[in-house]
């Protein structure tokens, strides 16, 4: 009896020790993640300049944005942008990961080259592409005009027809290596005997992919999909540098709208309220993915 009580005490004591060890991490998380998050929610209930004006307005900021049709248009545009970019990442990521998942000599060099877009800062990539797309001096127009595909320079970032798709293209180019790397890691973890067994059973390549590769990658895909979607849903840098959200509002993503509301129009309360809505949308996307891709 006494022995069992002692063991129980030891267990309790052991559990407490665990808490002591996670305490620093807990504080760090609170300071760096929880506090800023809660502070953002707090600001959304004020009309404030963050320095000396703090007028409590209740849910007025939320009411203002949720009754504004333009806000929904921007959210829809951002969703469309995220779907196209993430879709592009997965398509290219899958193809390249498959191509790289072979034991061919010199493959490491290709892997390094294909990873390059991921290594460059977003602002640098945006500036490079801005000049590539420049109507007068840009490489793209030069090539197209040289081969006779167009006779006049095209305004890639300044016209309704092209601006959005060019932005999507640059974002796909920048982001596919992350998806490619994750899928490649997943592919390399699949047990090779599964494929051997499938081949003995005479299954086709497509069936291999459908019944072995995809199910084995499910957990990797879920994490990658959530991370990639949320990342691009709140993307700002390249859209701002390339188009400033224009022409008109053709590439005005929600992050640009929030940025302008806060740092150009000094309406921090409204910007914070918009950020809270974006947070909720991202949370919903994450839940949706988890539900759809849940392991049976």
């Amino acid at each position: 009896m006494r022995k069992s009580r002692n063991r129980k005490q030891a267990n309790i004591s052991f559990n407490k020790t665990g808490y002591y060890f996670i305490f620093p991490a807990l504080i760090t998380m609170f300071v760096l993640i929880i506090y800023p998050l809660l502070y953002g929610v707090y600001i959304s209930f004020f009309d404030t300049n963050l320095v000396n004006k703090w007028d409590f307005v209740g849910i007025l900021n939320f009411k203002s944005i949720l009754t504004d049709l333009n806000f929904y248009k921007i959210i829809l545009l951002t969703l469309k942008f995220s779907i196209l970019v993430v879709g592009g990442h997965f398509l290219i990521g899958f193809i390249l990961a498959h191509a790289l998942n072979r034991n061919i000599r010199g493959m490491a060099i290709f892997r390094s080259i294909l990873l390059l877009p991921w290594l460059f800062p977003e602002a640098v990539i945006a500036l490079i592409f801005k000049w590539i797309f420049n109507p007068l001096y840009g490489l793209l127009n030069h090539v197209l005009m040289t081969v006779g595909l167009t006779s006049e320079p095209i305004s890639w970032l300044g016209s309704k027809e092209y601006a959005f798709m060019m932005l999507v293209f640059v974002c796909i180019w920048k982001g596919y290596p992350m998806v490619m790397t994750m899928i490649l890691a997943g592919l390399q973890n699949i047990d090779k005997t599964l494929y051997e067994a499938a081949r003995v059973d005479g299954v086709s390549k497509w069936q291999e992919f459908l019944y072995i590769t995809l199910p084995s990658l499910k957990s990797v895909l879920t994490v990658t999909l959530v991370l990639d979607t949320v990342w691009w849903f709140k993307h700002y840098t390249m859209a701002w540098v390339l188009t400033n959200g224009g022409p008109g509002q053709e590439t005005s993503l929600i992050s640009i709208d929030i940025y302008k509301t806060a740092f150009e129009f000094f309406d921090f309360g409204k910007a914070a309220a918009m950020s809270v809505v974006v947070f909720v949308v991202c949370l919903a996307i994450s839940k949706l993915y988890r539900r759809l891709l849940r392991d049976e």
Binding site: S13, F21, L50, G158, T243, N244
Partner: protein
């Protein structure tokens, strides 16, 4: 058991201590000045409370330090000051001009503004509301204040307070290729009809390959401060005030027929007449200047600061250009376009900061700056220098006699964005002027209503 528990607690405490020590260690490292000198001490904001004999560090957040020509001259002046005042060290925080406003807000909310901050008049109303800058009038003294142009002082003030040291000005005028105008046998335009005619004549195929390769007007059509400020500089001459204070009620000319007429004229330059290079709405200031300096365009509406940039990009073009007044519509006017420095209200070295700013404004320094960059003085006597009789400054000097007094309106930047959205939509998405005007009216009225509460 007790020992294990104690060890765990001690380790946890050590980790927490290490965490915070790690976070705090940066402030103990000496800061590096652009000249590669080490600043003294670890106070992030400035070196207060030094022992006798140790220099005081004045931190200067400068939008011009990021520019090639301006940055070099500003550093040169600061080095000269430090040599003459070994007890004061100037430490620059370079910043892109377009980012300064955001950076100021971020630093102000963290109560960590540098001692001296580069600012533009457009933002002063908001900054005054935040109470983050010192009123410079009592520090400067009336005698010193009176050395400035009235227009420069007006733009640097909010009410009776002078919030920024008017360092230099860049009035808006028309920069043009004098040699091409001479070749065509035409005079620089004095009104907007002549401007359009001149732009049409300058737009041509110069190498005979059947394609237009030179355009009349380097339009800055981006939906940002660069584009919008030029747009309203032009619209003012059509009799459109962005905002006016009518006995305590804010009103805007953006809802007027004059604005609609100007919006039509402005966007037709691209849509109808094709006198601007392709991609107007993606052409920012940098691209527009680049087109001018690479001989792709003949005219540009810009501040005098473009002179320095064009000269540095292509000295040959620099020799061939001249300036004239902005074409007149129903009136002729230009904002002084001052730029300058404010002193942070929380600075512990206000006197030293003022001493430095006054030094930078000594005639020899400001003339050195004007010669290199094209940015002009804000002090009356310095403007008498013969440098400003040159053809290149002629239009800018003339515009200084037509100062436009823009009221300090808290929603000004938002209002500018309404104009930016309108021309961007018309030129970039093919929206009609009528539809764009509906949005302009709706948004303008909402902004006015918000500020008339």
């Amino acid at each position: 058991m007790k020992y294990r528990k104690l060890t765990a607690v001690l380790m946890a405490m050590t980790m927490v201590a290490a965490l915070f020590t790690g976070c705090g260690s940066k402030t103990e490292e000496p800061a590096q000045t652009p000249a590669g000198q080490e600043a003294q001490g670890g106070d992030e904001k400035s070196d207060s409370g030094k022992a006798d004999g140790e220099p005081i560090t004045i931190q200067v957040m400068s939008g011009m330090m990021g520019e090639k020509v301006e940055g070099a001259i500003e550093q040169e002046i600061a080095d000269d000051f430090m040599e003459k005042n070994p007890n004061i060290k100037i430490e620059f925080i370079p910043m892109s001009t377009n980012d300064v406003q955001k950076k100021i807000i971020t630093l102000a909310t963290g109560d960590s503004l540098p001692d001296v901050v580069g600012v533009q008049p457009t933002w002063l109303a908001q900054f005054e509301e935040m109470g983050i800058f010192e009123d410079l009038r009592p520090m400067m003294g009336e005698e010193y204040v009176n050395t400035y142009f009235e227009g420069a002082l007006y733009e640097a003030s909010v009410g009776d307070k002078i919030l920024m040291f008017p360092w230099l000005c860049t009035p808006t005028a028309l920069l043009y290729r004098a040699d091409w105008f001479e070749e065509e046998g035409i005079q620089p335009p004095s009104n907007w009809d002549e401007f359009l005619e001149a732009a049409k004549k300058m737009t041509k195929d110069t190498d005979g390959d059947g394609k237009i390769d030179r355009w009349g007007f380097s339009m800055v059509g981006t939906r940002n401060n660069s584009g919008e400020s030029r747009f309203v500089a032009m619209s003012r001459t059509w009799g459109v005030d962005e905002v006016v204070d009518n006995n305590g009620t804010w009103e805007s000319g953006f809802t007027s027929p004059e604005f609609e007429n100007f919006l039509t004229y402005f966007t037709d330059l691209n849509n109808e007449y094709g006198v601007v290079p392709p991609g107007a709405v993606e052409t920012g200031y940098a691209e527009a200047v680049n087109y001018f300096s690479t001989e792709k365009t003949a005219m540009m509406i810009t501040g005098s600061n473009a002179i320095g940039v064009i000269k540095s990009q292509n000295p040959e073009v620099g020799e061939k250009m001249a300036s004239c007044m902005l074409p007149t519509g129903t009136t002729s006017c230009s904002a002084t376009g001052i730029g300058g420095y404010a002193i942070s209200a929380t600075s512990e070295h206000k006197e030293e900061a003022l001493e430095y700013l006054k030094f930078t404004l000594l005639p020899e320094n400001i003339l050195k700056f004007a010669e290199g960059t094209g940015r002009m003085p804000t002090q009356k006597d310095v403007m008498q220098d013969e440098m400003f009789n040159q053809e290149i400054f002629k239009g800018y000097v003339a515009m200084l006699d037509k100062p436009y007094k823009q009221p300090v309106f808290p929603g000004y930047v938002e209002l500018l964005d309404v104009a930016g959205e309108a021309y961007s939509n018309i030129m970039g998405t093919g929206q009609s002027v009528e539809d764009a005007m509906k949005v302009v009216k709706e948004k303008t009225e909402a902004i006015l209503a918000e500020n008339n509460k």
